[in-house]
Amino acid sequence: MSSEQHNTSQPTPPPDWKAEADKYWRQVSRRGAAFYRDHQQLFSLPNLGALLGGALALTWLASGVYIVDEGNRGVVTRFGAYSDTTQPGPHWHLPVPIETVRIVNVEQQRFIEVGYSSRFAKAATLPQESPLMLTSDENIVNVRLAVQYQIHNAQDYLFNVKDSEPTLKQLTESVERAVIGRNNMDFVLTEGRSEIVAEIKREIQAAMDDYHAGITIASVNLQDAQPPEEVQGAFEDAIRAREDKQRLINEAEAYANEIIPKARGAAARLLQEAEAYEAEKVAKAKGETERFEQLLVEYEKNPAITRKRLYLEAKEKLYSGSNKIMIEAERNAPQFYMPLQAMPNSHPAAPNPRTEPERGGEASADKGTVRKPAANSELRPSRSKP
């Protein structure tokens, strides 16, 4: 109730919301009360009960609506017994407790890891065991597998096998050891990988089908096949040794490729030097003989003159260069002393050798008066005829 008093002389007051709301509420409740008074029969207890029951029944029925998402299936059971498998889309089932539905994802690729665990694995739920196993030649290898699978039959998956995933893991461990136990180590570690993986996949699938587990193995992946850690050093060294072998061979071939061409080169050089010698020899011979033959032609035109001329020219050249000692002594002259060591090397001034014989055939050096004892002082007069 508004306590504000307005002067009628003033313009229209602003709407008072509280007053309006109160007025409206009073109207509604008056109408409601009137309605109730007029239709009292309608509000009797049984009628109310019926209404409530009807509402409950509707809710209950509505609870049977469910939606199956893409990639899923809905497995419907009636009083526990299998009734139907529904496809993706909206569905309705008779509500609990008559029918129940369980949604199963049939498209998702799930995987388990055997022999190792990556960070994607549910490491806590499944125990990890040693990845070592025996081969047919009683060697030990370290094998890690990842198995990818899918639920292909929702009904089988739910009702036939308890603990499907641990079952799959047990089977994988069993089958991988059986398959690897049949092959030797070299095959397992190298060429045999794809064949072994295919074999393992076949056998696991066969067993799962035997159990009617409703699971399909999509793929088995060999994450790793290694010799165990304890022997890896030796294995790596064997690989290094193979490479060493190749390296040694390569080095030897490089050596061969180096020295053989070099030898060929040296051989060619030897031949070339010989050929050069040959050519030189022949050319020299040709030159000398040509020179001689030209001279010969001249000689034969006038032998005596040519002869004399050549002789004198030769002797002239011969005597002009060296030291000379002239001896006019007769035969049987006493031996004399000739200090040859004191002779200078250059052209000496010609002494007058004729003065010397007065001294009794004593020879003198051109310049030197030094009479030094020499190692070979005694000298016979030259008797070579030119």
Partner: protein, 287 residues
């Protein structure tokens, strides 16, 4: 009218309650036994809804799916009196549910205990007949079939239907494993040594062959070079002979003069001469 309705309401509830107590349901993955005051009266119930008498009947349900027996590792002796460590598992499900209840109390755990014992006994027997190599490498289906055939009747006595028995792993005892590693290492070392010595051998052959080729090349070239030089010598001698032979005497004269010149051309030489040679013919007299 309202009194009638209010009378109907509790009656309706009572009917519902009665209905609830008179039925039981068996799930798709279950087996059930119906008891009357402790006595088994029915075992063959398909999944779904069934009737019972309230309070007098009660129902026990059991997991009808494939169940697992996972044994602990156990040592077995092979036929060569060697030890192996074996881990295995069995897959089974309830066959005769009544028998299952009476023998192992319908308890999965109890059933597994019993099953483990008989399994181990059977395996001990079979392992003792085979060598390690057979156990590891031979097709394990045969062993599996033998064990299943042997154990199916025994398991059946417990109401158990055996589906599969598999060896999960067969390992050598740890003390033997280390000698296996030793052997593996030694074998790899042998392989490594072989590679390296093969490499050395091939390398030696290749470089020796190369050396030989080099020697042969050089020797042949040397021989050919000598031939060529000889040829040159011969040819030049021939040219000289042919040419100088045209006038042997003049050649002797001319060549000797050259020789004298060359022999005495050094200015350090000293000649001791008698002036009675032809050269000095006009030396002392003008005639």
């Amino acid at each position: 009218m309202s009194s009638r309705l209010s009378f109907l309401f509790p009656i309706g509830l009572g009917v519902l309650l009665l209905a609830y107590l008179s039925v039981f349901h068996v799930n798709q993955y279950e087996r059930a036994i119906l008891f009357r005051l402790g006595e088994m009266v029915g075992t063959d119930f398909k999944p779904g809804l069934h009737l019972k008498v309230p309070f007098i009947n009660n129902v026990d349900t059991f997991d009808a799916r494939v169940l697992t027996l996972d044994t602990k590792s156990e040592r077995f002796l092979t036929s060569e009196k060697k030890n192996v460590i074996v881990d295995s598992f069995a897959k089974w499900r309830i066959g005769d549910v009544g028998l299952f209840y009476t023998t192992v109390g319908g308890d999965e755990y109890q059933a597994n205990l019993r099953l483990e014992q008989i399994l181990k006994d059977a395996m001990r027997g079979e392992f003792g007949l085979r060598t390690i190599k057979q156990l590891i490498s031979e097709d394990r289906t045969e062993l599996r079939k033998t064990l299943l055939t042997k154990l199916e009747p025994v398991a059946g006595k417990f109401g158990i239907e055996l589906i599969d028995i598999r060896i999960k792993r067969i390992d050598l005892p740890p003390e033997v494993s280390s000698s296996v590693y030793q052997r593996m290492r030694a074998e790899r070392e042998r392989v490594a040594r072989e590679f390296r010595s093969q490499g050395a051998e091939s390398a030696e052959l290749i470089s020796a062959e190369a050396d030989k080729q080099k020697q042969v090349l050089l020797a042949n070239a040397q021989r050919d070079a000598e031939n060529i030089r000889g040829r040159g010598d011969a040819q030049s001698a021939d040219i000289y002979a042919k040419s100088f032979g045209k006038n042997a005497e003049f050649y002797a004269f001319h060549r000797s003069l050259q020789a004298y010149q060359t022999a005495f051309e050094k200015t350090q030489d000293t000649l001791v001469l008698k002036p009675d040679s032809d050269f000095f013919k006009y030396f002392n007299s003008e005639k």
